[in-house]
Amino acid sequence: MTGPENPTDQPAGEVEKATVFSDAPADLPAPKHGMFGVEGSGDTTGFGGLVREPWNPPPAQRPYGGYFDEVVDALAAAYPQFDAAVEKVVVDRGELTLHVAREHVRELAQVLRDDPALRFELLSSVSGVDYLGTRNRLHAVYHLTSMTYRRRVRLEAAVSVEDPHLPSVTAVYPTADWQERETYDMFGIVFDGHPALTRILMPDDWDGFPQRKDYPLGGIPVQYKGATIPPPDERRAYR
């Protein structure tokens, strides 16, 4: 869990140093020492592993297992630019993920839907994930289902906040219409070629993209029996 107030790229030791500051001016509250009352790091035990490297799934090695080899081979045979389009093949927890270059998303979707050996007729879901702290942090994730072969594949395309453009797949899968609108609404990913890319869940005049990781949850402090409980995203918590 990362956020502007709790960046994970900051080593825990530095946070500790900042709070256990020895030559603090006298008008500041006394620095806190020891395991209790340490602020900033969130973790009051120190045993929970304070710094985590961003997870980068390793590319899968052949054979991928199950029907995954067949799907990848059929896609490579049907799509001439396969090597340029598919950057990485990941097999994790029994699911096949193709990390694809964004400019190929639409054509790949077309091939995946139409090729007789693939036949992914149903675009089950489009969603976004914000991997804050990585270069292309906004990921659009497509879950495809082949009703003919009863197979699944996940496409993942990454874009940056500065250039959040992806080709829309609405022409291939009309069901992507609202799902891309939701992803735009929540993450600010712009799907080029979408017939009417407007906000869908948030009000039309809303500022910002709520599901991004640097967008605060919001909320107001709650008073309970005289004590004030901060809103959920400001509470001290284990990360």
């Binding site: 869990m1 985590r52 699911e95 994930v129 899968y173 609202w178 009000p203 005049d205």
Partner: protein, 433 residues
């Protein structure tokens, strides 16, 4: 005249009408189109759904659904709670089929954790989901009747649904928003009298279904209002991502319980009801048939239930909920308190760590699906290795299915819009999340 705020889009000028400046918009559009705003607060809109129609006489020429009135940020909220607390939020998304929301999320978390719920917990999940399917379909059929002016259908269905909720209350303690299914199993075992009560419930449901059949099964107004209204074929369904009773009413027996079985559904004996008309009547017929099939599954679960654990045997994941009813209400059982406070230091540590910190889930992502009453319900669960979900996205059948409304109603009469909305049966709580 004050002009409504507007902006240029690829589709032309779009007016931002919030706050009652509708007349200003109509004043500026100088042609013969009649624009009718329907909802979001309307007794026939099946929830806070808003539709903007363009009419030519009584015929709908254009329909635009507007959603988002019930958006509560459930997905964002789960990112700030532990994995176990996530259930509490997600159960409220599609609040008429809570057990499906809980199950699909828990299946995802379990897949990330690499654990599997014990056999009894899996059976209880199937049991709860199938009872939930019955109660959810009652809440589809009831409002359909109310919206068409057949109020007895509504009152009868609500009476039947209340009997379902009584059973849920017996088992989970709550009528709705149960948070009963947890990562690793279920919150607690069935009460001792549950199987007997559920068998009584099955008989009640069969009586209620027979009564529904007598009431509207051949009632000419009911049949005529639904038949040949809101047609959508298999190709249209798949292009628009429509699943569930709508797809099966169009003729494709696509039911994840059969096609991609989970929780041992392949071992149960039941049919996937289909119909070939693809209209509102077919959807009604399919839903009623599905209720009968669900009762069959519930009966089979009861026959198979055997004593056993209902939570994974892993003290680092299993929520330490050993509850019992004491003189001051429900709470941790005395034996559990005795164990953690007096005899087992490790149990105390596990209890403390799980309740305050929660468990960590190895990084990765999964997409799990279940066949919910409204169609394919998917959960895209992403973990960064922490004690909280990094991202949870629900592929809500309600959200996806509303997209077909324009296809159903355009070219038809305004009065036929009502059975169309009702037969799509999108629940706005799930749609907007």
């Amino acid at each position: 005249m004050r002009e409504a705020p507007s902006r240029q889009t690829t589709e032309g000028k779009v007016y931002n009408v919030t706050g009652g400046d509708w007349e200003d918009v109509l004043g500026e559009i100088r042609d013969d189109r009649i624009v009718v705003n329907f909802g979001p607060q309307h007794p026939s809109s099946h929830g806070v759904l808003r539709l903007v129609f363009e009419l030519e006489g009584e015929t709908v020429t254009d329909c635009r659904p507007v959603i988002g009135y019930l958006h509560t940020g459930i997905e964002k909220n789960t990112e700030f709670r532990t994995w176990t607390q996530g259930v509490t939020f997600l159960t409220r998304a599609d609040y008429l089929s809570s057990f499906f929301n809980e199950t699909v999320y828990c299946l995802g978390v379990e897949q990330l954790l690499g654990v599997e719920a014990p056999a009894r917990a899996q059976l209880i999940r199937v049991l709860m989901m199938e009872m939930n399917r019955v109660s959810s379909h009652w809440t589809t059929i009831g409002p359909t009747g109310m919206e068409l002016g057949a109020l007895t259908v509504m009152t009868n269905s609500m009476r039947a649904r209340e009997k379902c909720l009584d059973v849920f209350e017996l088992i989970t303690g709550l009528r709705m928003n149960h948070a009963y299914i947890r990562p690793g199993g279920v919150a607690q075992d069935l009460p001792e009298d549950a199987p007997e009560k559920i068998r009584d419930w099955i008989k009640e449901m069969q009586r209620e279904l027979a009564e529904l059949d007598r009431l509207v099964g051949a009632q000419p107004i009911w049949v005529n209002r639904l038949k040949d209204v809101g047609w959508l074929g298999v190709d249209g369904c798949i292009a628009l991502g429509i699943t569930g009773p709508l797809l099966r009413a169009a003729g494709l027996p696509w039911d994840l319980r059969k096609t991609e079985p989970y929780l041992g559904y392949e071992t149960f004996d039941f049919e996937v009801p289909t119909d070939d008309r693809g209209d509102s009547w077919s959807r009604f017929v399919v839903r009623v048939a599905e209720m009968h099939e669900s009762l069959k599954i519930v009966e089979q679960v009861l026959d198979r239930l055997e004593p056993g654990p209902t939570m994974v045997d892993d003290p680092k994941v299993a929520w330490p909920a050993h509850l019992s009813i004491g003189p001051d209400g429900m709470g941790n059982s005395l034996e559990h308190v005795q164990k953690i406070m007096a005899t087992s230091m490790e149990s105390l540590i596990h209890h403390f760590k799980l309740v305050t910190e929660g468990f960590r889930v190895p990084p990765g992502q999964t997409y799990t699906t279940v066949e919910a009453p409204r169609g394919v319900l998917g959960a895209h669960v992403v973990s960064d290795g922490g004690t909280r979900p990094y991202r949870v996205h629900f592929r809500e059948p309600s959200f996806v299915n509303i997209q077909c409304l324009p296809a159903l109603v355009e070219g038809g009469l305004l009065s036929d819009v009502i059975p169309c909305i009702a037969s799509v049966d999108s629940l706005m709580g799930g749609c907007d999340r």
